[in-house]
């Protein structure tokens, strides 16, 4: 198992290092803007999947109100860690109540 883990880690690292080995002169303004957009796109996709998807199905469970509360708190400029804990508290409480 340890060997498998090491091989898999090297495989993941290959992507990470690749981004740093591409010569700077290849990075045009278009590619630079693309990599900025990729950040927004991937992050948004992660949030959406983590909020609405469970095992290949769309599911509206305790995560949805929790993320709604998080969005309101971020809009109100509440500190990051407070918002994250609030989201956990909302989802955890709703589940404890049987939702």
């Amino acid at each position: 198992m340890t060997l498998t883990v090491i091989l898999a880690s090297l495989a993941v690292f290959s992507w990470k290092i690749l981004g740093y080995l591409i010569p700077q002169k290849w990075i045009t303004e278009g590619i630079r803007q693309f990599s900025e957009r990729v950040t927004v796109v991937l992050m948004s996709a992660l949030v959406a999947v983590q909020t609405f998807v469970s095992a290949n199905q769309v599911e509206f469970d305790a995560r949805v109100p929790a993320l709604g509360v998080a969005a309101i708190l971020f809009a109100l400029k509440v500190p990051y860690i407070v918002v994250v804990i609030a989201a956990a508290a909302v989802a955890g409480s709703l589940r404890a109540l049987g939702f």
């Binding site: 340890t2 498998t4 883990v5 090491i6 091989l7 898999a8 880690s9 495989a11 993941v12 690292f13 290959s14 992507w15 990470k16 290092i17 690749l18 981004g19 740093y20 700077q24 990075i27 630079r32 803007q33 693309f34 990599s35 957009r37 990729v38 950040t39 927004v40 796109v41 991937l42 992050m43 948004s44 996709a45 992660l46 949030v47 959406a48 999947v49 983590q50 909020t51 609405f52 998807v53 290949n56 199905q57 769309v58 929790a66 993320l67 998080a70 969005a71 971020f74 500190p79 990051y80 860690i81 918002v83 994250v84 989201a87 956990a88 508290a89 909302v90 989802a91 955890g92 589940r95």
Partner: protein
Amino acid sequence: MKRVLSTSISVGLATGLYGISFGALAAVAGLDLLSIMLLSILMFSGGSQFAFIGVIAAGGAPISAITSSWLLGVRNGFYAMRLNNVLAPRGFLKLVAAQLSIDESNGVSAAQDDFKSQRVGFWATGIAVFVFWNLATLLGALAGDFLGSAETWGLDAAAAAAFLGLVWPKLKDNKTLALAASVVAVVGSLFLPAGVPVLLTVLIALVPRRSK
């Protein structure tokens, strides 16, 4: 600068919450403590790590576990491309920067306005997440049974909220992009294996922005 550092620490702590569930799930999947810790230290990429233990827990072959984590790690390559432009690290620092190039470090960096804060944001968040993620993995692996499931504590919602907070400053100028990515990822999840729909959204980023 103080604000950037406090964000970095917060992101590290929030990631730590989720790291506990990683450690616990990995232990349940039957991995020994050394393998669990090596995943968090060497692989150090949440999505890939969860995919790895998911395949192992389902009784998959080692090569499937390796391939899954490799494919899910591709987004770090996109982040690295952006970060190389910001950091331009040399020599050994290039290897360290590469290892720390993940959702959170790139997210905090991209959320900053000036170049210096973007650099500080990357390094501070990368180090904070590395420390808290590994401590949390250890805690989860040792005490997972005692803590119960991640869902009970709302940690799945915490992880989603943590990512929402990272992308939040960018949403104002990129509403259409973010909405399109969310829709594609959710709809894609109905048909495609886990992890693929999120990667698919990279295609959306290929559409050039209309000039204002």
